[in-house]
């Protein structure tokens, strides 16, 4: 059998100014298994180039916990891109 990159489905959430820039609050996306959060964000930058300027002011979460950008993603993961928080 040929070796193919397996794809998995993840849920992606956007908040605040990033939600406005992306134009939606969430979507489900098929990505290569074990892609990193960084690679996932790069997919969105390909789609919406202006997102690149937000990268340095974002933190990421994986399954509702802050996560490093090199975290790998697996089937069913929930990823969110979080602008600076301003609650309170």
């Amino acid at each position: 059998m040929p070796s193919v990159s397996q794809t998995v489905r993840v849920k992606v959430l956007f908040f605040g100014r990033l939600k406005d820039a992306v134009g939606q609050a969430e979507e489900s996306l098929d990505i290569s298994d074990a892609s990193t959060i960084e690679q996932l964000f790069a997919l969105y930058v390909q789609r919406i180039p202006e997102l690149a300027k937000y990268r340095s002011s974002l933190v990421a979460s994986r399954n509702q916990e802050f996560a490093a950008w090199d975290s790998a993603l697996y089937s069913g993961d929930e990823v969110a891109f979080l602008p600076p928080v301003s609650g309170g």
Binding site: S61, F66, A80, V85, G87, G88
Partner: protein, 158 residues
């Protein structure tokens, strides 16, 4: 001190916050002090007149982070109970956006814990505020939560 988080209150609400109810919840005969923090909508921001605010949250994560704050409070301070409530949606001038109440046997712990709670909330709880002015709206500048740099155990063993 062990953490009686089950007796504490962590809420995201869309109706006006009622401080009296929250203070009553954390109040107990073995305490002697309650310190509260009430954060509410100012009528101006950077010298522009604010019309109203709109708050949104990553709700399940925000609630989890509020519980984490309380767990830290119990580790660091000798307190009795905590209530942390944040309002979401549209808020008018003067309306409370966040209310925190901490009870303790003695006042120093109540002050320290209440202040730690709001300072930490503002850095780590995923909530965002959009400010509406007469000539437009902007997402408020905020604080970037600390980002993990490593990914311990992020990859499966197989």
């Amino acid at each position: 001190m062990t953490a009686p988080l089950d007796d504490d209150i962590f809420q995201l609400v869309r109706e006006p916050i009622e401080p009296g109810t929250l203070v009553g919840h954390v109040r107990a005969p073995e305490d002697g002090a309650i310190v509260t923090f009430d954060g509410f909508v100012r009528n101006q921001s950077h010298n522009r007149r604010t019309l109203y605010l709109d708050y949104e949250a990553y709700e399940p994560m925000a609630l989890a982070k509020m519980r984490e704050i309380a767990a830290q409070l119990y580790e660091k301070y000798r307190i009795h109970r905590v209530a942390i409530v944040h309002r979401l949606g549209r808020l008018e001038i003067g309306e409370t956006s966040v209310f925190i109440a901490v009870s303790a046997p003695h006042r120093a712990a109540a002050f320290d814990a209440c202040r730690f709670a709001i300072d930490t909330l503002k850095r780590t709880v995923p909530i965002w505020k959009k400010e509406y002015f007469e000539d437009g709206a902007v997402w408020a500048d905020g604080e970037l939560p600390p980002s993990p740099v490593a990914t311990p155990g992020a990859k499966p063993a197989s």
